[in-house]
Assembly symmetry: C2
Homo-oligomer: 202 residues x 2
């Protein structure tokens, strides 16, 4: 990048963009050119949207969701079913579940997964408020919507242990063939799980 | 996008990012999550780099290159050969040529191509300073490094006409097979040009 005679301002911009996921030097140059060509229409509004979101968005004190208000819009939404709590790793999982439209309960965002290899233990995650919420009397079911990975399952086991004795139903997402997924591209573990939990064809 | 319960700040950010080239709603969500997770380390510096570049970078009064100073660093570089002037459409072309390391002369950036279909005429482009520069006495050769498209060739013809009578050598880039390019993927026009301008194999 330092071979471009662009001056420190564009150089700094290229450096930051090229380190974003999915970007490299080439795509950073392309998007920087696009932005510099549309300074007033796109570049300045983008800078302001980034600064505004960075300054105003923070984790919700109840669920850990990101919003400019706390409690967040999900926690304040009276139409949502407070008896079902969906435990997820990350705000990205909340966005994905919300887009599915299939869940109308409340969320609890851990902010990560327990990962002994990465030195991430329960104290690094948002577990405290979870026990309080689950034992407050309104929650009936806790859905563990965590990744089907080693860390995801370690975390799911830990949450299940913590919730034991509260008289709650604890469930997890089913395993199986993704909609639109081709069998030939699936790993054996998924295929085995899909076979074991096969359903009547109707 | 409006189905996400994210509040106006994140919504605005997602809207702007999803309209950038190469982005859609899905990749906008992915990069927004990446940024929100790294607020201090990445998101705020990116906002500042965008704002700084948008505020400081402007076209060079001599050549049209983008820089935070005018004359730009390329025009001020005494090591560059002022007798060769390379005419390009866009600052992106300057960046590409600079990365090639093959050109050590000076540039003139038109800021676009003549395009009758799009209603872009010579007066919309940076032609005025070009004639001044070319006739000032130091320039010996003008290289028309313009796209091998209809608009590129229309523009090249127009520049060549304007420079006529100044006693300059006017050249263009050669056509041919791109380095690493497979013959089977090339269009016939390029193949024909590459055949016509074939060179001794040595
Ligand atoms: Zn909340
Ligand atoms: Zn310049």
């Amino acid at each position: 990048m330092s071979t471009l005679p662009v001056g420190p301002e564009i150089e700094q911009l290229l450096t930051i963009i090229s380190r974003l996921p999915g970007f490299g030097p080439r795509s950073a140059r392309r998007i920087a050119l696009h932005l510099l060509r549309r300074r007033e229409g796109v570049m300045v509004p983008l800078a302001e949207a980034l600064a505004t979101a960075a300054a105003t968005v923070a984790p919700c004190e109840i669920c850990g969701n990101w919003d400019s208000q706390s409690p967040c819009r999900l926690c304040e939404d009276e139409e949502r079913d407070g008896s079902v709590l969906c435990v997820v790793e990350d705000v990205g999982d909340v966005w994905a579940l919300e887009r599915s439209g299939a869940f109308k309960g409340r969320y609890h965002i851990l902010g990560g997964l327990i990962s002994p290899l990465d030195g991430i233990g329960p104290d690094d995650l948002n577990f405290g408020p979870l026990s309080q919420r689950a034992s407050a009397g309104t929650v009936r079911e806790v859905i563990l919507a965590l990744s089907a990975t080693v860390d995801g399952q370690t975390t799911a086991g830990y949450v299940a242990d913590r919730l034991e004795g509260l008289g709650l139903t604890v469930t997890r997402l089913s395993h199986g063939v993704p909609i639109g997924g081709e069998l030939g591209h699936l790993d054996e573990g998924t295929l085995a799980a899909a076979l074991q939990s096969r359903r009547d064809f109707s």
